[in-house]
Symmetry: C2
Amino acid sequence: MNTGTEAPRRTRIQQEKRELILEAALEVFSTNGFRGSTIDQIAEAAGMSKPNLLYYFRRKEDIHETLMQRLLDTWLAPLRELDDIGDPMTELRSYIRRKLEMARDFPRESRLFANEILQGAPRIMPLLAGELKTLVDEKAGVIKGWMRAGKIARTDPWHLIFSIWATTQHYADFDVQVRAVLGPNRGGDGRFEDAARFLEQLFLEGLKPKA
Amino acid sequence: MNTGTEAPRRTRIQQEKRELILEAALEVFSTNGFRGSTIDQIAEAAGMSKPNLLYYFRRKEDIHETLMQRLLDTWLAPLRELDDIGDPMTELRSYIRRKLEMARDFPRESRLFANEILQGAPRIMPLLAGELKTLVDEKAGVIKGWMRAGKIARTDPWHLIFSIWATTQHYADFDVQVRAVLGPNRGGDGRFEDAARFLEQLFLEGLKPKA
DNA sequence: CAAATTTTTGACCGATTGGACAAACGTTAG
DNA sequence: CTAACGTTTGTCCAATCGGTCAAAAATTTG
């Protein structure tokens, strides 16, 4: 009884199957990229036939778009939590730690974004120049405040944020390389603790205010 | 007059055309990934017909493989130059600078590798666990020596190398995002100088030996 | 129950893919 | 010139792609 103007009302089955498909699509898209993934692959991973999948998402792009929109909020949550009220060094430390935990616990989400950005972000460019830029600019302002107050060393807040993104996401996006280089011993489950220890030292020492 | 056992002897035309194809393939592969790229795209970018291209490279994978093998050396050259004899801080500074210059001057090469690693490195895994691991282990030893000599702060040399890779390559692989966030003013040509200044501060301060 | 609706499937379609192939064309050596 | 060789192209192919459609099956509703 959809009049066409209101938000789609979904049945229980539709809810469940759509979740199933999105979960499968996350797996497939994150390892093959958008163009490298096929509807058949996603359908098989979701345990259903291709026409059945297309009953829930009419086009391949719709799946990807839905995934992206849902994930962006999750992905930016740690930065949103970066707060003006706490101690700067403590805030930065927990931001780095949270980002690294996300790389460990949600590597597929990280790779999905990486794939998209790598290929020129054809489908999420507006979000980058809009929502993302706004958020980063705001947080850069917070960091600048800390610098003016002499709480942390003076540097470029934007590039500071970039470097935190780069170093933490590296452990999700380049996981294969990290493990290959570290080898079976150092590359085991402990690698995230090692990374956390290193990054904390690097950033906290590197940002200590000059006396 | 190829006897079949010796290295392929190539005519002048073969040399030139193969270079043309590899240049075109670098452009296409680095922006679409392997599976997302088509032989037709590469052929068109190289200004020739598809059967003509297949005369020089019999399979799509051969082009990719040749590209990878050629580029790995270039890509690792800065790390190879990291030398035991110079001043540690100076050596690290120029390593970071060289890596950042490569991100600026050869972004396609960086994206090609990123694409490959992101998708599980199906075609270059042996190189990672072999040649790459050997080189990194060796340089980690050099860095460890500096630490023992009290020239730089004690940390994990492997993760130090990872973080330098991550932060510098970020400016090639995530260039679209970097420019979108920085905006037209800060994201102009000067962004690499800003990045260089920031990274130098971060790493050199973060690695200062404790007194 | 039965009717209406939602879900699932097999068969199919045109477009695109990587690649094969023989014929045509160009070049060079004798 | 001519024969041999290297290069280029048009045509074709089987496989795979994203997506359609009608009909069957399952579920919900009255």
